[in-house]
């Protein structure tokens, strides 16, 4: 072990109370940041989950659509025009829309109806835990997610509620299909039209499937030329639009960013304060180091080591706490998502935060006059 590292470690361990305060500060800060980032990642995934699970090479969406949850309607003639383009093998209508779900006990809760042709490759429920797609084809059949049982007043297959005065019987149960607005309820295309209250010749989106060997960009250009009153997007574009809308245009991302910023500021201030007071307490030692010929760089190294040791201990504990939070929130409508990349980013953030905190101490040490060693 290098002596500068040893000195830094011993300086930290010398005052355990201050070390605990530093570590608590880092843990608090990093857990706060982790939760915010975890919610952000979760939010981001939810914002595109339907697009991610839809089977489409191209999306035909109403002009100006910002998100999957945009419920402007398209006419079926657009689908026919799209189908007439060379390279298009199929065009599947998808209907979405909000509707009130009447609970068995009388109350209502808003839901988001998603309906597509269950025999075609469209957007079907996934993560099925009970029931089957075939059972969803029956009239007034609905698929709900376990996460929203309580909100919808159901608990098993066969339970039912009411959507716009029509019965909705649970014939399929999924696990982990989350929404940050209202629960998704999947059904067949016709039932969805009926629940949402739209004409049979209308749909919210058309999911285009390309013929084998067809070039996406060429086909898209031709579909665009054929249908000027709608937009044609590749899935990545639609994902990006949806994500940007929910995270940035609604202000949700800004709120999360402020949470992250607060966490970092709190952590930096606490670590800076404790490092500063530690440096002050060891002032005569730093003066002695300077007197015996240590370079400024050597002394900075001791302080930076102190900051890094605090960062590693604090980050390790914060990660443990965060993993517990992740575990606890796994089966909730808003899980905290922690990816390996997030963990790496948080580690780098912790290190940067602690090194930044060391600046005030370094500024103080820069002022040390070695002659102090003679004076004390």
């Amino acid at each position: 072990m290098s002596l500068s590292f040893k000195l830094a470690l011993r300086n930290l361990l010398h005052d355990r109370l201050r070390l605990i305060a530093t570590i608590v500060g880092i843990v608090f800060s990093i857990v706060l940041v982790t939760v915010q980032v975890g919610v952000f990642v979760s939010f981001q995934r939810m914002a595109t989950t339907m697009i991610d699970h839809a089977s489409a090479d191209l999306w035909v969406v109403p002009l100006g659509t910002k998100t999957f949850e945009d419920t402007t309607l398209l006419d079926d003639r657009i689908r026919l025009r799209a189908l007439s383009v060379d390279g298009i093998a199929g065009a599947v209508p998808l209907v979405i829309g909000s509707a009130p779900w009447r609970l068995p006990n009388g109350g209502t809760t808003p839901i988001f109806v998603v309906g597509s042709d269950l025999k075609a490759a469209g957007l079907h429920p996934w993560n099925i835990v009970e029931g089957s797609l075939e059972m969803l084809e029956a009239g007034n059949a609905a698929a709900v997610d376990q996460l929203y049982f309580k909100r919808l007043g159901v608990s098993q297959l066969g339970d039912s509620g009411e959507i716009r005065g029509q019965k909705a019987r649970v014939t399929l149960i999924t696990k982990g299909i989350r929404s940050f607005m209202m629960p998704y309820v999947f059904t067949s295309l016709e039932t969805a039209r009926s629940y949402v209250g739209i004409e049979p010749a209308k749909a919210t989106f058309f999911l285009l499937h390309l013929a084998p060997e067809a070039d996406v960009e060429n086909v898209r250009r031709e579909v665009r030329a054929a249908i000027s009153d709608a937009e044609v997007l590749i899935p990545d574009e639609f994902r990006s639009r949806s994500r940007n809308f929910w995270l940035f245009e609604t202000g949700a991302g800004g709120a999360l960013f402020i949470g992250v910023l607060l966490g970092v500021i709190v952590g930096t201030v606490i670590v800076a304060q404790t490092l500063y007071s530690s440096t002050k307490e060891h002032f005569s030692e730093f003066a002695t180091l300077r007197a015996i010929g240590a370079s400024s760089r050597y002394i900075y190294k001791v302080i930076i080591f102190q900051a890094l040791i605090s960062a590693v201990i604090g980050f390790s504990l914060a990660t443990c706490v965060s993993l517990i939070i992740v575990k606890v929130t796994t089966d909730t409508p808003l899980p905290i998502v922690l990816t390996p990349l997030t963990i790496l980013a948080l580690f780098l953030l912790t290190v940067s935060m602690c090194v930044l905190s060391a600046i005030s101490s370094i500024v103080q040490v820069m002022k040390i006059d070695p002659v102090v060693a003679f004076a004390r």
Partner: protein, 237 residues
Amino acid sequence: MSKFVIEAVNITKVLGSGASQVKALDGVNLSLRTGELVLLMGPSGCGKTTLLSVLGCMLSPTQGVVRLSGHLTSRLGPEQLAKLRREYLGFVFQSYHLFPTLSALDNVRLTLDVRRERSKQATVKAKNALSIVNIAHKAELYPQELSTGEQQRVAIARSIVGGAAMLLADEPTAALDSANGHSIMTVLSRMARDFSRGVLVVTHDPRILPFADRIIRMEDGRIVGEERGLRHANELH
């Protein structure tokens, strides 16, 4: 004839500014040869510690020249002065300034560590330095586990381990009883005699006069007298 390890020519040091300005050193000339132990004595506030700081490359003189092992110290920046200190100077402070969180051995190794000597050889050197001051058997103890005399020995080991040509000691016996003081001065005296170091000791302690080759007396920032010490006389005898 031994060579000069340090030479100070016409050193003036003005401290403070404006009305509170004080001339702490006023035209001081002093030189030390290798193998020589010199005591610097004088009343409190006469400028002994200021002179020690100037000779120790910690304070720059307002006027005059300091030459350390042939190197001029004037116009050097803080980092270059630090380099001179670690290469040519060893310090023994009045309150030892040992690092309480490091063992005696690590305290000594620190001098080598700042010089980027971090091999096993560095540990051997540190142990040797502790042996020279007869404290090797307590190498693993922490400063608070050592007596004041032992702490001062560790501080001396730290000052000599890097092979400094010049040792500067500030009141090294002030906090020690007569036996410990004698023992510490014996060590410093050996450093001068057996290891050819220049040793300058600032002191008020008349008990250590027998160890001096020369005694320089200061008053009001000036050198007012110089006499041969008993050690010199004894050696002549």
